[in-house]
């Protein structure tokens, strides 16, 4: 009997603001590492997590250049999750709420993400073995 499961996650927080996003991405990473299929629906500010134009920056206060600062960008974490899924033979479906994307002008997303609507989240919930909603505060 296959132990592969399908988990659905809903993220809502914008990047660089809350630890909730980090924990959500940690759970998604673990699920993929264990060979499960994952659907992520990004709603509201979370659609900016995959925005392709995020750029690392230097830290003038501490006198560090871009390389020394090594500032993480969530788009790179998402790209890494897409790569991890391919390596593990898992299916990662990363859906960006289209209206939320348009409102924020963050239509250029990293490869491996698709545009969708809350109806796609409903479909994911209906087909997933379990769902975790990580709401904004």
């Amino acid at each position: 009997m296959s132990t592969k499961k399908h988990l659905a996650f809903l993220l809502m927080d914008a990047p660089y603001e809350q630890a909730r996003t980090t924990t959500g991405l940690r759970l998604i990473d673990l699920a993929l590492k264990k060979g499960h299929d994952v659907t992520v629906f990004c709603y509201e500010g979370a659609v900016a997590l995959a925005f392709a134009k995020q750029a690392p920056h230097a830290n003038a206060v501490h006198g560090r250049d871009v390389e020394q600062e090594d500032h993480p960008n969530p788009k790179d974490w998402i790209a890494a999750l897409v790569k991890l899924a391919a390596e593990k033979g898992s299916k990662l479906t990363w859906i960006q709420c289209g209206l939320c994307v348009d409102e924020r002008g963050v239509g250029e997303a990293v490869q491996g993400t698709v545009r969708g609507s809350p109806a796609d989240f409903l479909k994911a919930v209906e087909t997933a073995d379990n769902t975790l909603v990580i709401p904004t505060q």
Binding site: K5, L7, A19, R20, T23, R26, L27, L30, A31, K34, H36, D129, N130, T131, L132, V133, I134, P135, Q137
Partner: protein
């Protein structure tokens, strides 16, 4: 029984009593299956021996399993020796395994 996975990400100063009440109520309904309270991020702070940890100890007496994310504890420099005995430090894998097991999951 599917049971419940309640994930607490907030410190007690941010208002957790209603979520703890929910955990207690679900634990009293034995037919609902086991109830696990998973502490993560600032949610791990009451796991230290302090006035707020009394609420967690009481929950454990009511049958709620209480787990705390090791990573969140390390981020906050909370060693295992500072945890009350009712709280077990675990990797985040434990929460994922409960999700995979099919526990109904709620995040606060």
């Amino acid at each position: 029984m599917r049971g419940y996975l309640l994930i607490e990400s907030r410190d007690s100063f941010e208002g957790t009593s209603h979520f703890f009440d929910l955990a207690r109520s679900l634990a009293h309904e034995a037919k609902e299956g086991p109830v696990t309270l998973f502490l993560v991020e600032n949610g791990v702070l009451p796991a230290r021996r302090c006035y707020a940890s009394e609420q967690l100890a009481a929950l454990a007496k009511d049958g709620v399993e209480i787990l705390a994310d090791e990573f969140s504890l390390r981020e906050r420099a909370i060693g295992r020796e500072r945890l009350i005995p009712e709280v077990k430090a675990v990797a985040l894998d434990a929460a994922l395994d409960l999700l995979v097991e099919g526990r109904k999951a709620l995040w606060h």
